[in-house]
């Protein structure tokens, strides 16, 4: 599904954000990428979503080598990878329905499709009854569920979650992790970037540990060991 082959990201004059990463993620995997701040977790995700260009090596998505992706192909790539962040990135002036619909609107989906799909996805994240509310009227956990709904709207094969529970309390964190597990059980590959010990230990899934840009371990059922 996703293959990182000797992936390096280098910033002149002498900084390596990630160095020689070799990683194979199969379809349906749930992988937690852990490490301290500055270990290269977020850089790895940015390379996967083509927000940053690879200095050396290759990233293969299916059979597609995205190492030297053209700018015009980036939107196609991003529709195949749903991404959620710690700060949700919701538009405050739009309702929950509009926030999710926006992701379809800007990609040219017909209105009839939007009217059908958005309520379905809102039901999946259990926010159908709050469709007309604004993000500021929701709790942190609910806002993250909206972000997940938006990330899933293009039915991506991969969901990347970059510190999704960083702003949440324990109850909301559990809620989000349960939702990610549910999404994973339905066949979506999930890449979770976190340094939340509780979350990783609770999941009992594959754990990749990064240190100073290098991969130091890859455990099938790992624990947070830093």
């Amino acid at each position: 599904m996703i293959k990182f082959r000797n992936v390096t990201k280098y910033y002149p004059p002498d900084t390596y954000a990630v160095k020689g990463i070799n990683l194979h993620i199969r379809q349906g995997d749930f992988v937690s990428i852990i490490g301290e701040s500055g270990s290269g977790k977020t850089t790895l995700i940015k390379l996967l979503t083509a927000e940053e260009k690879i200095s050396d090596g290759h990233i293969l998505l299916g059979g597609w080598d995205i190492s030297n992706i053209y700018n015009r192909e980036i939107p196609i790539l991003r529709r195949q990878i749903g991404v959620i962040f710690q700060d949700f990135k919701l538009l405050k002036q739009k309702t929950i329905f509009e926030n999710i619909a926006f992701a379809l609107e800007v990609c040219g989906s017909p209105s009839s499709k939007i009217k059908t799909i958005v309520p379905q996805i809102l039901k999946v994240v259990n926010l159908y009854h709050k469709a007309e509310r604004y993000p500021t009227q929701l709790s942190g956990g609910e806002q993250q569920r909206v972000a997940i709904a938006r990330a899933l709207i293009h039915r991506p094969k991969i969901l990347v979650a970059d510190e999704p529970t960083g702003n949440l309390d324990f109850a909301n964190t559990r809620e989000i992790i349960d939702l990610l597990k549910k999404i994973n059980e339905l066949g979506t590959t999930v890449l979770l970037v976190t340094h939340d010990r509780e979350v990783v230990n609770l999941l009992k899934k594959r754990v990749v540990l990064l240190e100073r840009g290098e991969m130091v371990s890859d455990e099938k059922v790992g624990r947070y060991v830093i």
Binding site: P75, R78, F102, V106, C107, P110
Partner: protein, 304 residues
Amino acid sequence: MNYSIVRAIKFAFQDFWRNIWLSLVTITVLVLAILSVNILVSLSAISNKIVESVKDKVDISIFFKSEIDQAQIDNFQIKLKNIPEVKEVILITKEKALEEFKQKHKDEPKILEALKEVEKNPLADALVIRARDTEDYNKILGVLSLKENQDLIKFQNFTDHKKIIDQINLISSKIEKISLAITLIFVLISILIVFNAIRVTIYTHKDEISVMRLVGASDRFIRAPFIIESVIYSVFSIGIAIVLLYAIFGAIGPYLADFLQTYNFDLIEYYNQNFFMIFGAEFAVVLLLNAISCSIAVRRYLRG
């Protein structure tokens, strides 16, 4: 694709209304820039008209000796017409000249009585010569001064407006230079303000742009609403400038007519005749300026 175009237009109008004050400021700046350019256009049109009118009044009149017959006059007229610098040669027979003289002095009985007492037509046959350019008169005067020609001519009269033309040319060229400098300064300030206004507009949408990129919107789609918005700015600013200009021309028309008196120049008529050329060019420049500002400003948020 159709959905994208319709949505880009919808987003553009939404942005325009949501940031109505910013939109109004941008349009005001553009209107002021367009007005200043049109002041230059108007001044240039007026000075050109004055120069052309004065140039039209320059001519050489030659009066033949009484013993010269019609055949000699005709030959001389043909000879003059063959000079490349000569634009036209008009024959005024002494009969026609007398008629015009009588008409001109019809309310002055003393002059008419004096004319009756002379009995014979005292006026001479004449040719009025006009050159293609005011610079050509010297050459024509040179031809006329040849002895064979002077034998036919009783006297000649060259109404030399060259000094006036030179002065008008000098003044209009100075006016043009000053106006051009003022306009350039204004256009430069306008470019900066418009560029900044569009940047602020786009800055207020940076979150939306970031979400659009996140969910896989193409760069073209992200740019489109801003480009369309700049078209809206251009249409509104040109429209408002046209209305204001015609209102100003209507208001200053009588004063301008009074000032220009015999030149018979109407700014509204001039603009009507050149409407599409003047405003078409101005619209194209404003649109280009907006589109470039917009592209540069959006590009910053599309990197990565």
